[in-house]
Amino acid sequence: MTEQQKTLETALPTDVHFKKNYLLRLNITRALIYIFLAILLVITIIPVWILLVNATRSTVEIQQGISLLPSRYLLSNYGILLSKGLDLPLGFTNSLIIALSTTVITVYFSMLTAYGIVVYNFKGKKFFYNSIILLVMIPMQLSIIGFYQWMSKLGLDDNYLSLILPSIASAGSVFFCKQYLDSIVIHDLIDAGRIDGASELGIFHRIMLPIATPGMFTLGIFAFVASWNNFFNAFILITTRDKYTLPMLVQTLRGDVYRHEYGAIYLGLAASLVPIIIIYFLFSRYIVNGISMGAVKE
């Protein structure tokens, strides 16, 4: 203690100089970091930006060179897409139906399961919860072939139910809900509900779910985006052209039909990204906070 104080006192004149030097170095470091961040930002944004801009440019313009400013061929590009038989609105509706159903089922059943773990002390609970943590780490998607054949036997192949129903048992979401409920469940409130004569399910529906709305919303966004973007499962299970989801339609844009119709291709791609970009800018706070909620114990 004394030694530090002494050096501070005796070195007072030079200390000002030292501090100046230190500040200068800090500022240079800071400037370099900002430059690095700016470069990273450009890398992050530019591909998406070019995509959005090109969706509004004609094929001739696109072939002439890169532009970072939009043009006015959005509608004519859309006309080309339609004339080539790409039913964007249908794909959009299909994806929306699947994503919304998946979201509702994921959120409701994950909350139900997590509530059961958090509130009740039943035999085998620890084993059950540990299995869920284990399931998060196991690549279940690799059983897709067996899943496909099993769904065909049940008559559910080429049916949206085979994409929606598996979300009843979503281990990652249960894990998220468990972490979340741990921090917000008030056991006295549940007991109060019991004294008032509410049933156990009634307490869950009428007391717990309203309190858990923020967490449900966060989980809902993730479930929606994951389902909206899911390509592999739909690609394996859905075969009828009219049932194609948006990611599957996007994949057909690579085909020969659209050769050299660059504006239309970019528009088709943009249409599948824009809803997600809008959702992100509206709810980024929920999303960014939600990412770490499952992984980091506060």
């Binding site: 059943f109 897709i144 129903l165 048992a169 999303i287 992984a295």
Partner: protein, 301 residues
């Protein structure tokens, strides 16, 4: 009151029942079904199939493309994971550093995370267009005189491999940054203050305080990234012709499984054997990592 609670606890089974039923039907049975299919010569064209023992696996091990696919999957994952965790560590140290006081931390983070939400099939098609022969990348490089003439990127194994790695990195570095930042901000400032008083350097604080304390989250990132990386499909599948071209350079195990599945006969038995092998490999490595790193952590604390 006490006895009432005991009785109520049975309701726990009611609440977890839908999950268990859903898991048995849509999770566990498909795994079992995939495993049993892998021992048969089942195809999509025939109604019956017969047990062929380990034949599918023998053929798989005799097929050098399988090893190429597995090697590619590992290489593509490692090559994107290392820079991903590196950049994420750098960014999260900068954003959480109290001396640097980087402005707009939340906004940077938000922008860096955005690619992660993009539809991967659209992203693959986008980069395919950007790097096509007459695409913007060639236009830019040729017009700015960086290149004498346009390059056919799609036919270059090295470029395509690099592109898959880059896209994967682009998709995931923001998410990893957010996770590591959350872990770092949950570390008590008092620990760093104490270390500063003891005269620790910035690097020492990083090495001996930050790294050990963010280890659980690093483990989470590592395991989830590995499990996802072993199933890499959308980007390499849609970037070229869906067969891992050029020269099998971006053929991953999942693409190989898909190719068996959509072969003219639909060899689901053979396709299952690929799934089973990757399943076993991934689960084994994930669990190994989990236990190895978790035990060390418990010793340390």
């Amino acid at each position: 009151m006490f006895s009432a609670k005991i009785v109520k606890n049975y309701y726990g089974y009611l609440f977890i029942a839908p999950f268990i039923i859903g898991f048995l039907i849509f999770g566990l049975y498909p795994v079992y079904n995939t495993l049993s299919l892998s021992f048969t010569d089942a195809t999509l064209m025939r109604a019956t199939s017969k047990f062929v023992g380990l034949q599918n696996f023998q053929r798989l091990f005799a097929d050098s493309t399988f090893f190429t696919a597995v090697r590619n999957t590992w290489a593509l994952w490692l090559m994107n994971f290392i820079p991903q965790i590196g950049i994420a560590l750098l960014l999260s140290v900068w954003f959480t550093n109290t001396q640097l006081k980087i402005k707009g931390g939340g906004l940077w983070r938000m922008m860096f995370y955005m690619p992660n939400l993009m539809m991967q099939s659209a992203v693959a098609a986008l980069f395919f267009s950007l790097f096509s022969f007459y695409g913007p990348v060639n236009q830019f490089l040729v017009r700015a005189d960086f290149l004498p003439e346009a390059i056919d990127y799609i036919r270059s194994p090295a470029v395509m491999r690099g592109l898959v790695v880059f896209i994967q990195w682009w998709l995931w570095f923001g998410q990893t940054t957010i996770l590591l930042m959350a872990a770092m901000t949950s570390i008590s400032v008092a620990i760093y203050e104490a270390a500063t008083v003891d005269g620790a350097s910035t690097f020492q604080m990083f090495r001996f305080i930050t790294l050990p304390l963010i280890k659980p989250v690093m483990l989470y990132v590592l395991v989830t990234s590995l499990v996802g990386g072993m199933q890499l499909f959308d980007i390499p599948f849609l970037l070229t012709d869906g067969r891992g071209s050029p020269a099998n350079s971006i053929l991953t195990s999942n693409i190989m499984m898909y190719m068996r599945f959509r072969s003219s006969q639909g060899h689901i038995g053979a396709a299952s054997s690929v799934g089973v092998m990757v399943f076993i490999m991934t689960t084994f490595v994930a669990l190994l990592l989990f236990y190895a790193l978790r035990d060390k952590h418990e010793h340390a604390s």
